[in-house]
Every structure is written in structure tokens, then in C-alpha cells.
């Protein structure tokens, strides 16, 4: 009766729905709030704002520092996505199809970067790159982001590869395709949902990454979250609200794409 709403007492049901509504609002509040503030005219982030304006967007897009940070973020995220999928794809194949001993342990190893606290990975990689003189380079950003993005791509690809019946690939080979042709023309299209999901995860992880990026950044090369981080420590200017809105906007866009792809696959399947 606690799981069938009609059998619950009216007071109890009302109490539960009311609490839930409040918590759902609590989840949405900061996101909606920051988007609204980016259009508010108050320098001091007064809410409700005295008026509406695009002034802060103008400041953001005309400031070369913010623009180059946004561009760097985009570049790092795209490169991270490509590298994570390129490394994750063969790994997923080996883990799903291999029959060698120790696969469980290897799977654990590949998902370890998800479990070890980010701060530790950041400090460890920072120490290495400090020695090699790589801090503040594109290479440092991409490598550190790939470490944390890789588990997401591997898991996504493994999930869809497990659903794929390998005998279809073998059939293509029997019909005269080479193994490589079969993999590229039969298997890859079939596991595309997993590959795309993995790529989207990798992109989001990199796009939003703060801790690793703060350690890798130099005054001349920084990503959008790093620029936000350093600015935040000085003041709360509405331009940060603009940057936040852009971060949120891209995340939402990627989520909508992922949902649309999932729906299309459900229909075609």
C-alpha cells in the first residue's frame, strides 16, 4: 500500500507529493537562477533583477580572454573525445571477446580512474608533467582529460558490444569479407549507439572538468572552467553567469542529442 498511491491515505500522499515538489524545485533552482541572472542588469547580481540586458553577453564575447578560454575548452573536449573513443574501442573489443585470464582485473583497472579521487589524479599527473615541462600545453589538458573520460567510453561501448551477436560478423566473413571489413561495415554500425554515447560522455566530462584543468593550466592557456575558477576567486561578476549559462547550454544540448538518439534506436530496434 506504500507503493500503490490509491491505497495511501490522502494526507500521506499529499505530504509525499509536496515534499517531492519542493525537492525537485531545489534541484532546478540553481540552474534556472543562474541562467536568469546572466540576463539581469544588476552588477551585484540582485534578484529579481531590476531590468533585463544582453550587456554581460556582449562583455563575454568581446573579451579575448574569455573567448580564447572557450575556444580552448572546445578544442580540448573534441580532442579528448576522439582519443577516448580511439583508445576505448579496441579495449572494449578485447574485454568483451577475449578469453584470456584476468579480464575482470583488467576491467577493474580501466575503471579505476572513475574511483580514485580526481584531486589525486590531478596532483599525480601534474607532478609528472612538471618534471617533463608539459604543464600549460594542449597535450597536458588532453592527456589528463582522456584518463578520466576513458572509463565512460569503455563502459558504453562494452554495453552495446555485449548486445551484438558476433555470428553476424562471422557471417560477413564467411560471405567473403575480410575480418577488418566485417568489423568496419557490420559491427561498427551495429554498436554505434554505444560509441556515440561513449563519445558524448567523454565530451561532457572534458567540457566540464575543473580540477585537472586548474592544475594543468598556465596563464596563457586555460579552459573555460579554469577561467571561471580564477575569476570567481576575485569577484562574482555576472560575466561568470554568462559562462555558466554557456556550459549549462552545451550540456543540455548534448543530453537532448543523447535522448533523441536513444529514442531513434528504440524505434528502429
Amino acid at each position: 500500500m506504500l507503493l500503490t498511491p490509491n491505497a495511501m491515505s490522502r494526507r500521506m500522499r499529499f505530504g509525499l507529493y509536496f515534499t517531492t515538489g519542493v525537492i525537485a524545485l531545489f534541484l532546478l533552482l540553481p540552474i534556472v537562477f543562474i541562467v536568469l541572472l546572466s540576463f539581469g542588469s544588476s552588477q551585484w547580481l540582485v534578484f529579481p533583477p531590476p531590468g533585463w540586458t544582453f550587456k554581460w553577453y556582449g562583455q563575454f564575447f568581446s573579451n579575448p580572454d574569455w573567448m580564447s578560454a572557450a575556444l580552448t575548452s572546445l578544442k580540448v573536449a573534441v580532442l579528448t573525445t576522439v582519443c577516448a573513443v580511439a583508445l576505448g574501442l579496441p579495449t572494449a573489443f578485447a574485454l568483451v571477446r577475449g578469453r584470456f585470464p584476468g579480464r575482470e582485473m583488467l576491467y577493474g583497472l580501466f575503471t579505476l580512474p572513475m574511483i580514485v579521487p580526481l584531486v589525486i589524479i590531478a596532483v599525480a599527473v601534474y607532478a609528472l608533467f612538471l618534471k617533463l615541462g608539459y604543464t600549460g600545453t594542449m597535450f597536458a589538458f588532453v592527456v589528463s582529460h582522456v584518463i578520466v573520460a576513458l572509463p565512460f567510453t569503455i563502459i558504453s561501448i562494452i554495453n552495446s558490444l555485449k548486445l551484438f551477436d558476433q555470428s553476424i560478423e562471422d557471417a560477413a566473413v564467411i560471405c567473403g569479407a575480410s575480418r577488418l571489413q566485417a568489423v568496419f561495415k557490420v559491427t561498427f554500425p551495429a554498436i554505434r549507439p554505444g560509441m556515440v554515447a561513449g563519445a558524448l560522455f567523454a565530451f561532457l566530462v572534458s567540457w566540464d572538468e575543473v580540477v585537472l584543468s586548474v592544475m594543468m593550466a598556465s596563464p596563457t592557456l586555460q579552459t573555460l572552467p579554469v577561467k571561471m575558477w580564477t575569476t570567481l576567486r576575485q569577484d562574482l561578476t555576472p560575466v561568470i553567469a554568462v559562462a555558466s549559462t554557456l556550459l549549462i547550454g552545451l550540456s543540455v544540448l548534448v543530453m537532448v542529442i543523447a535522448a533523441a538518439l536513444r529514442r531513434r534506436n528504440e524505434i528502429s530496434a
Partner: protein, 308 residues
């Protein structure tokens, strides 16, 4: 599966059958076949070994090697009262955050299970949206919301609950609010899955047998939710121990946690030895707790094996 099975039987018998088929697995000894495909692991293994494992091990070693070999850094970490306070803060904040996110996540997961599917899907979408929205953006938002002249203080004053702005940022309150908020999705998702798997008939049976709604809730429903509560709570506790961004922005100097301490030792004091000792401690705690988390998983009484 089927392909590898035929390859295993391999040998002479199999050769007759596949002799006319080009390019199916060459007839190699079975030990080699077992390792077939393992080569695909090399790129990722090399990458992780070089850029993740080696630096990690290097870092953990520095804790016992710098500035002089020995356990001096660990001694300092526990003996120095300021450092011991950091450890205490780390655990108490993680504990509070776990408690509050459980309290807030439970009704949400329950309602998602109760309402009609369409509504439930929308509520899950809200949870996912908040989970995948930029962490930094949400933390900044709380910073603005909770400041002395912020919306929360203004609303509380307008309602007459307080007559002076409360201090809610750069202290424990700010950290706990911000982090509980961020952790709610990590409670809701596993808990909701657990609740979804509970058979409503069990609860009906409870009430038919004379249990009051309260007894039914505490003696039947809550114990059935335990796997989800435990795994969600443990996960949140582990994640909270390692969080840096939110505590650094919403917290003050007096409630520094271990991750912030590690970064500070590295960036401001260049004290790699002490930082590495702290890092080793954090890694050890995380891995031990995660081991318990994995242990907990298969024992779910509402798991697939028991489902009807």
C-alpha cells in the same frame, strides 16, 4: 561466443569443416588463441600505465621518501592538531552530506516510483539534468544564492523567519548545502531502481496482516529499500571524501577538507611529501570503502535472482 567455441575445438576436426572458408582464425595452438585479441588492449594499457598508474605510484612513494625516507609525513599528519582537524573535517562533512542527501533523495525516489510513468520519467530527467549540468556553474549559483544579500537570505527575511542575514557561505553550512545538492542524483538513481523492484503485494500483505502504515513503513518498506540506501549512501560518502571544487568555493579556511589540503600543500607550500602522505591516505580510504561497496552489490534481496 559461438565463434570462439568452434575455435577452441579447433585442431584437425575443425579444419575439415572450415577448410574452404578463407581467413577464419588460423589454426594456432590453443594457448595462443586464448590470448588472441588481447593485443587490442595494448594502446589503452600503455596509455594508462604511462600517464595514470606510473604517476600515481610515484606520488604515493613520495610520501615515504620526501623529504627524508621514513614515515615522518604520516606522523605529522596525525600528530599535528591542525592536520588532524583536516581529517576530522573530511569525515564529518562527508557524513553530514551523506545524511542530508539520503533524507532529500528518499522522498524523491519514492515519488518517482509512485507516480504514473510519464511523470516519473520527467522527474528522472530533472535528476539527470542536474547531474550532468556543470558542477562549477551550480556551485557558483549557490555562492550567489547564499551570500548575505542573496535570494535565500532575502526570502527568509521577507518571511520574518530571521531579521538579520545568516552567514551561509564560507562556512560549514555552505559546504553541506552545496554538496548535498550535488549528491542527490547519486542517491536517487540507485534507490529508485531498488524501489522499482519491490513487489507492492508485500506491502499489501503487511497491511492485511494488521500493520499500521507506520509499522509497514519502518518494518517492511524501509528494510526492503536497504540495499539501495546502503549502496547510494556509501557511494556518496566515498565521493564526498574526494570532492575539491565545492568545498573550496563554498567553505571557509577553518573547514578545509583533505583534497583541498593536498592541493594547498602542493601549490602553496611545495611540500610534496606531506601532500603525498595525505593522498595515500585518501586513496586507501576510498579503495577500502569501494571494496565494501562492491561486496554489498550482489546481496540485494530484491535483485534479479529474487524477482518474479
Amino acid at each position: 561466443m559461438s565463434a570462439s567455441a568452434t575455435q577452441h575445438t579447433g585442431g584437425a576436426a575443425g579444419a575439415a569443416g572450415v577448410a574452404t572458408v578463407p581467413a577464419i582464425a588460423p589454426q594456432a595452438p590453443s594457448r595462443l588463441q586464448r590470448w588472441r585479441g588481447a593485443g587490442n588492449l595494448l594502446p589503452a594499457l600503455l596509455f594508462l600505465g604511462l600517464f595514470f598508474l606510473a604517476p600515481l605510484i610515484g606520488l604515493l612513494l613520495r610520501g615515504v621518501l620526501e623529504p627524508v625516507p621514513g614515515l615522518g609525513n604520516y606522523e605529522q599528519l596525525f600528530a599535528n592538531s591542525a592536520y588532524a582537524r583536516v581529517l576530522f573535517n573530511t569525515f564529518s562533512v562527508a557524513g553530514l552530506v551523506t545524511l542530508f542527501s539520503l533524507l532529500l533523495g528518499f522522498p524523491l525516489a519514492w515519488a518517482i516510483t509512485l507516480v504514473p510513468r510519464g511523470w516519473g520519467r520527467w522527474m528522472l530527467n530533472i535528476v539527470l539534468l542536474s547531474m550532468w549540468t556543470s558542477l562549477l556553474a551550480r556551485t557558483y549559483s549557490w555562492l550567489v544564492l547564499l551570500q548575505a544579500s542573496g535570494v535565500v537570505n532575502k526570502a527568509l527575511m521577507a518571511l520574518g523567519i530571521i531579521d538579520q542575514p545568516l552567514e551561509m557561505v564560507h562556512n560549514l553550512t555552505g559546504v553541506v548545502i552545496g554538496m548535498s545538492y550535488i549528491m542527490i542524483p547519486f542517491i536517487v538513481l540507485p534507490l529508485q531502481a531498488t524501489m522499482q523492484a519491490i513487489d507492492p503485494m508485500i506491502l499489501q500483505a503487511g497491511s492485511i496482516c494488521g500493520a499500521s502504515p507506520w509499522t509497514n513503513f519502518f518494518r517492511v518498506f524501509l528494510p526492503l529499500c536497504r540495499p539501495g540506501l546502503f549502496s547510494g549512501g556509501l557511494m556518496v560518502f566515498v565521493m564526498s571524501l574526494g570532492y575539491y571544487v565545492t568545498p573550496a568555493l563554498l567553505g571557509g579556511a577553518q573547514n578545509m577538507m583533505l583534497p583541498e589540503f593536498i592541493i594547498q600543500q602542493v601549490q602553496s607550500f611545495l611540500n610534496w611529501g606531506l601532500a603525498s602522505a595525505g593522498a595515500a591516505l585518501l586513496v586507501a580510504i576510498t579503495l577500502v570503502l569501494f571494496y565494501f561497496y562492491l561486496k554489498l552489490q550482489p546481496e540485494s534481496p530484491v535483485g534479479a535472482s529474487n524477482a518474479r
